[in-house]
Amino acid sequence: MSPNGVEYGYNSKIEGEVVVSKLDAVINWVRKHSIWPMPMGLACCAIELMGTAGSRFDISRFGMEVMRFSPRQADCMIVAGTVTYKMAPIVRRIYDQMAGPKWVIAMGACASTGGMYRSYATMQGVDRIVPVDVYVSGCPPRPEALIDALMKLQNKIGNERSARGLLKRDQAHA
């Protein structure tokens, strides 16, 4: 309270403590600690994906345990397994159905490059149809590797310019 009885600015006695930060940092902090994965389990990598979610490895330690089989409720597609050409348009369609912002992890050799399936039936890397944020090597990768990839994704989300995108979108709607 100022001497002449007029209140200026922020009064911590009335409104509590406050932290000043950048909008980007706040948005990214919220986003990266509640990634909802969409388990796109297409082959044996999906078994390791299940192990990652199990109690021994436990991705809930990083805030990513809310696996959602509906693309509408997920924001990180984990492509775990071999993408055949027959399946590829469906993978892309499910990616399109996810609400933004959204990310993709290519889990294992097959999803990353086609892996050992150098054949007429297998898409040589899921990055031909969806934009991949993190590639995980391994055949299949161990759960630790997937957790590492998810933490790499968290770092990536932490460096995104999220607020700029929000303002742009508001202008577009106005």
């Binding site: 050409y85 027959k86 590829a88 348009p89 469906i90 892309r92 369609r93 399109d96 490059t113 086609g114 892996g115 050992m116 399936y117 150098r118 054949s119 007429y120 039936a121 297998t122 898409m123 040589q124 031909r128 149809i129 969806v130």
Partner: protein
């Protein structure tokens, strides 16, 4: 096993014995196939159809043979039948779905991979590749890497958005396909690679 051979050939003189390293095998003419199969199932107790596959003999005539593997639970024994397709250009075979319903998907797979049409099959379409796929991948003239073509067309929206298509797969890091007597350096996957090497990098598409 000899007794089965005797019984079968007494009943069907047209059935010839076929070289085999393990189980008894027979060549059956196509027009007798249904009778032979019914006899094997009902009288000799080969109740289970384990597998239907085919062989492409390349430039040999007849070019395609369809192979049936049967199993008898009571005898605990297998039996193999081989039937040649008369026409190499548009090969076809009678369906045994009426005898063993299990043949349904097996015959669809043989059609998918070799292009052998099965007559009187209840649902003769591809099973593994998509319906509009233009090739039969297990035929001898089909390259291991595949042939460049379009993605499944039911979703043109996706195809337009991604501009992705089926490519001839690079052999780098891929399967070994050694022929006997060949040095290993020529059997390695990279020996057959035609696209992604250090000198010729992965195309961006």
């Amino acid at each position: 096993m000899e007794e089965i051979k005797k019984q079968l050939q007494e009943r069907f003189p047209a059935v010839e014995s076929r070289d085999s390293v393990d189980w008894p095998a027979f060549n059956v003419p196509e027009e007798r196939l249904l009778e032979v199969c019914r006899y094997l199932r009902d009288d000799l107790d080969y109740a289970m159809l384990v597998d239907v596959t085919a062989v492409d003999w390349s430039d040999v005539i007849p070019r395609f043979s369809v192979i049936y593997h049967l199993f008898s639970v009571s005898r605990s024994a297998y039996l193999r039948l081989a039937v040649n397709c008369a026409d190499a250009g548009a090969p076809s075979m009678v369906s045994v779905c009426s005898i063993w319903p299990a043949a349904n998907w097996h015959e669809r797979e043989v059609y998918d991979m070799f292009g052998i049409q099965f007559k009187n099959h209840p649902d003769m379409r591809r099973i593994l590749m998509w319906d509009d796929y233009p090739y039969f991948p297990l035929r001898k003239e089909f390259p291991l890497a595949g042939i460049e073509t379009e993605l499944p067309p039911e979703d043109t929206e996706v195809r337009e958005a991604t501009d992705a298509h089926v490519i001839a797969a690079p052999m780098m890091g891929g399967p070994f396909h050694a022929t006997p007597g060949e040095p290993m350096s020529r059997a390695e996957p990279r020996a057959a690679d035609q696209s992604w090497t250090e000198k010729n990098p992965k195309p961006l598409d």
